[in-house]
Symmetry: D3
Subunit: 222 residues, 6 copies
């Protein structure tokens, strides 16, 4: 059914840009309502008092990225949940691993494509474009990773992530052996599973709450 | 399985840019092969002698768009097929209709998203961005149209196109009535069906032949 | 839900036979409403003035087939659409090709079986029976092509058409190579893709508009 | 993959017609192997000594139908199994019930269409044509029952049978209430469930053993 | 939607235990309604006069099992149906076969797991635990047979049963050959097909009628 | 394919019980290999040096539960990952919430049933049995939650979790409103989404690594 305007999340950090000179609010010339991301999510949850650690973390985001990612604002109604999420996420995507940061982002986008998650495709599609320096690679991960030119090893990694996403119950030793054969260690396999698993969580939480990506992601790495 | 480099289609009009000063061919710094679209499709079909009408059409494409869309080059191995395809396509997408050109492109992208067609998502995603002047709308049609802010009428139109794509056998009078209730005429319904049907053909031909979009689409309308 | 009688299409050429002496209109002895195809489709679209070329084409249909196929009547509300459709269709199914006309009709029926399209199964099932002289082959294409006795080459052709229909996004070079291995040229592959693609369009337009086959098809080639 | 010729079942009652004057064995003019049903199924199971009751039953089939249905020959390797199957089947399809024999056959065909069972679509499609006196109704049950003109009650009956076939785990009290609302008693609901359930068994046994229908079915009721 | 309390089946043999001293009817401490199986099924069908043979059969059930399985009570509204069902079932699961009784029960549970049938998972899960003496094996058949330690032969048997359940139309000679290769005879293949087919019927009848398992099954073989 | 014995995980805390007097290792009388869970998972990852906090946590598990859950041993190859996982999990399942611990476990099992995850069905099925004091409720959550007697509110909660699991991309404001209508607050909706999301991660990591549940779970709460 047609989308009702979602409830404002009071945590909206980024103030909404007022309509510019030639811009009318509401229905624009094209007849399609303007897409904006002024809301963080569809649930109305008042912001919690953040711990000094989390306040510092948000400040660091603003300094380094220019903004606090909306997923963090979405969790900020409860400081304990925010801390647990941030710790889990940062270990997963940034800690040392046999997988490069780009490879972890590629898994993130390919899983999010299977689950058609607007938030994660936008935010992590930007990351693939930025880490790889190749905007087309980001598009391919969003649209159909099978059409991309990949190394055999990258392809096996993404095939495993997609099988985990679509029929995890059918994964067996031969699937793990297919990863070992192209050179992944058992530790690498754990990391592939952990990243693919995580975005199967994150995609669903984002869709369940209608989480909206920060507008700035759309232009990154183009 | 990992993608083998596809066979060159001899019709490749746009000559491949040689690697620039700092660019190495092959595996770039990121470890992911560079994505290019130097090939039109994976089938090796020599170009036919084009009729004067088709030569003029290609020339007009180059003047107005700056390039000949690869889908036309793909059909150019047989002048009769090219003419039939071009006539059918141009009537469908450009002839007078109760649906605006933007709306027809929105259907094109939403259908192509269901079928995960790299060629059509790229070419028609660019058209949505350009016609609407809203790059985010293009992204939403590619990623998940249900997350977009749409009028009730646009939403009903896209829901019908998606049902046609995923379970056409289950469409019944109540589905047509749902379109009538939001204001579509029987002629409009035919046009929605015709556009949604066409991209269910075009997506499949593109995937079956590994048709590659012209690189220029990626940046249009950003 | 139960089927409402569809709106009459004003283009109905074949006048409905009045009930015969022993026939009651409405509910017959079996308790099931009689199935007729007096309507062309569920959309009420007034017929356009046809061009002389199209008038001649319809006359030729009546002379050669004894009737104008309802799919042509369905498009006849707009002469330009009818011409584009007829040209596209005739090139596809009748122009010279490495695929015989029977093989193209076999693809048509197998694709239509996946999409459960009543119009196309009826019209093209008749064509398979007629071209092959084997009524059972027509039934097998409608019911389950995997149960038919086929050459390896025909089976590969139909498997490709079914994969295009059900998961076109997963077609890769190895699928095309499977066709090459059994003896298809790249041109043949294009033709298989074009026919399978076309019926994925045509099935959906027919279902979306509740297009009804001419009654005469049911008995052809038995 | 292409079909291997199935193993002969030694129970083949109907002796294979030798090729007629103008008929060549093997590849006919159309290039497609001739479809025959000289075999009962793909499993080689020697016939058992039948009990007098079963011998009489087979004789009665030949007298009334002109042939013994292949499904009975398929079970004839074990007299106890044949007796149990025949008793179960005959009670189900022929015993007094709130459902007419035609309605039970309509359920049989619609379920078999979901499961794409060549044997059951052929044998029970013939029964629908014969019981209803309407060949088109038989085709519609095979191709897409949603395109048929049905009473609301028949449509509800078939929708329940299809839901039982495709997602039986999701049937709940509201589904049974939908049947009660259009006039079915609880006993009728049991009979609908029993027939729909039975063909979900029979379709699968037929497909698992490549059971082939008697050729005579194809022409019945046309 | 939330479950309405099902209608009482008048055949309920096992009288419902009245609430004990500390037990309140209705909502217990946990906030979840207590799950009971005081009803046989959701259809209200009065019991028929049973034949002496069926009365003796029910008595034997009570002596050997301590209860009459609810599936038999469900069919007891019609003596002929009960007799046909019991004869068919007993031949299938208890007659001599190359498959052990445990193996037939393993197929029963694995098929029922695909169809998520509460009745059959409960009753036949108990049988697997009891026949094997291994409660964990019963759990694995219910939850995901692919996670069980099985012989190659047992795994092939269950894979065939699952393919029959989920896409019977795709079974071909190569699937039967896979069973032959691990040592199954053609007769064994028939028996595998018959058991897998039967539970595809029985699961659906149980779900369509909301058949409830006797409570005693839950504790058997733990 | 048949299961290869998985590689031993060196972290196996619970020493494997040697075969008892009457027990033979290997193939038991039933012909089915004995199911054991002597291994934690199929990846060979050496245990890390645990931090004092994690050592204390494991000790507490052994005191309170009698064992360390295998999922914790699976993460123990890396102390940082173990800490992040434990913190995230404990906040999710044990922190104050509008959902009771039993309700969170019901979501866990119902999601795990959709994903057929042996580890999570076993461990969290035990938790449902224990928290509710009703072993049948645990079985119903594993087998088919739609067959359970639930309050309208619980049913809505589980339906949302299942939709998140199977088609998260289709969740819209009307789905959230359905939860609000039965009495859930926006904070409750977040918690439902968070638990359902988490088990969509955890199920997949468990299946991807063949994580095996501690044997003791099977008997808990019976």
């Amino acid at each position: 059914m047609a989308k009702k305007p979602s409830k404002s999340n009071v945590l909206t950090y980024a103030p909404q840009k007022p309509p510019g000179p030639g811009e009318k609010p509401g229905q624009p010339a094209s007849g399609v309502p303007r897409q904006d991301d002024a809301h963080v999510m569809a649930l109305a949850l008042p912001p919690a008092q953040l711990s000094p650690a989390m306040e510092a973390y948000f400040k660091k985001c603003e300094e380094k990225l220019g903004f606090v990612p909306n997923v963090l604002l979405a969790y900020a109604f409860d400081n304990a949940k925010l801390e647990a999420f941030a710790a889990f996420y940062n270990d997963l995507m940034l800690a040392p691993s046999g997988l490069s940061k780009l490879e972890r982002e590629m898994i993130a986008v390919v899983v999010s494509s299977q689950n058609r998650c607007y938030y994660c495709l936008t935010a992590h599609g930007a990351a693939v474009r930025t880490y790889s320096g190749d905007p087309v690679l980001g598009e391919l991960m969003v649209m159909n990773y099978r059409a991309a030119r990949l190394t055999k090893k990258q392809r096996a990694m993404l095939d495993f992530a997609v099988k985990m996403t679509n029929e995890s119950w059918a994964i067996e030793e031969e699937d793990r052996d297919a990863l070992r054969r192209v050179g992944f260690s058992d530790r690498d396999i754990f990391d592939i599973a952990a990243v693919a698993g995580f975005f199967n969580m994150s995609n669903r939480v984002a869709s369940a709450t209608d989480m909206r990506p920060n507008a700035v992601y759309h232009g990154q790495g183009r």
